[in-house]
Assembly symmetry: C2
């Protein structure tokens, strides 16, 4: 979404623009469908047409991945799929913890889609005694107080799905425990040190857009 706090320091190469990072997975999905339909090559013009955007945008987006299209035939579908999967890190695995095993949190534990895109939830943390000790979708729920002790070095992403009045407190616990990126599903703007990556995904803000547009139309 547009209201995004993702930290983009210019440490190395210039950062890939956020709109590009949002579009690339959409291209990838289209390419997989095209492959299934038997296509071997696709042009940026064809991708653009399918996405409803301009073909120079597609070329520009794909230029970040360093793939080169052939004149007249375009990109080889297989190769472009593989390049995109690697570029987006969908074919390696990043690990995360879930903070807040309420209805949305539990929902994410049960969603197999995340695993398909290279994300594995290793454990969940909550404060509700009725939840601590349970196993949801193969993920064990621990008490939040045990997080600092249980934190594994390879787990850098934290999903935040706690109630809004706990959001900042749990954020502080995540950060002091060594979490480097927070996927914030709450509708609170959390405060973090500059080097922590924050991605805001507020489903209810998207709902606000739908309601507004729908009732303008009708």
């Amino acid at each position: 979404m547009s209201s995004n706090d993702t930290d983009i320091n210019n440490k190395k190469q210039p950062p890939v623009p956020e709109p590009t990072l949002y579009r690339l997975p959409i291209y990838l999905t289209y390419l997989k469908l095209a492959k299934k339909a038997g296509l071997q090559y696709v042009s940026s013009t064809l991708i653009a047409k399918e996405m409803g955007i301009d073909s120079t945008q597609v070329t520009k987006d794909l230029s970040h991945t360093a793939i080169v299209g052939k004149t007249r035939v375009g990109y080889q579908v297989d190769q472009l799929i593989s390049v995109l999967e690697t570029f987006l890190r969908f074919n390696s695995v990043d690990y995360g913890y879930l903070f807040g095993a309420g209805s949305l949190g539990t929902a994410l534990l049960l969603d197999h889609g995340l695993a398909q895109f290279g994300f594995a939830i290793r454990a969940a943390f909550d404060v509700n005694p009725d939840k601590v000790g349970l196993n949801m979708g193969g993920v064990k729920i621990y008490h939040l107080d045990d997080f600092a002790r249980l934190k594994e070095p390879e787990v850098n992403i934290g999903i935040l799905t706690v109630p809004v009045d706990e959001a900042q407190r749990v954020t502080d616990i995540m950060v002091s425990g060594g979490i480097k990126a927070i996927w914030n599903f709450t509708s609170v703007r959390i405060k973090t040190p500059e080097d922590v990556v924050v991605q805001n995904t507020s489903l209810y803000a998207h709902l606000a857009v739908i309601f507004n547009r729908l009732h303008r139309e009708s």
Copy 2:
């Protein structure tokens, strides 16, 4: 998210900008927390500080709701909460159907948060015989073939959580059945008539941003 296809025809008053619609629910959450903490008035400067944005942006965003702040004291918290809830239609109810009761779809059926923001899922549709007839979170799952027959006039929103290779086909079924707004959770860019509202929410595209930013930092 930025890659958004929401249709904004200029039929009536100029449309509220999408970034504003994303921010207003975040303000609302903050105001509810402020109220809980005992605040009676908030200034746009205070809201801005909490959100990490400019105060002129806050004033501009709130101007769409026609609320008026008092000089020196700012906005009355109770009143602003009520104005925002009405403006965002979070205190009335809109109805929707879910299309695709897979892991993400089921997750949404079980998330109580949607109801709190004025959205009620009336029924779900799927083609999997193991799912048809089940009841998930109080919502019955019907066969997709029964949608046209069961469509109720007051249900205008469809949530799309089907597999990617079914996304366009199911979109066409939704549209011809009278769905006016599609909340698209798939990573496919669906094609719809111009008067259908489409809101894209691709969780996996957000994951791509997190992976990219995290591995740039480390």
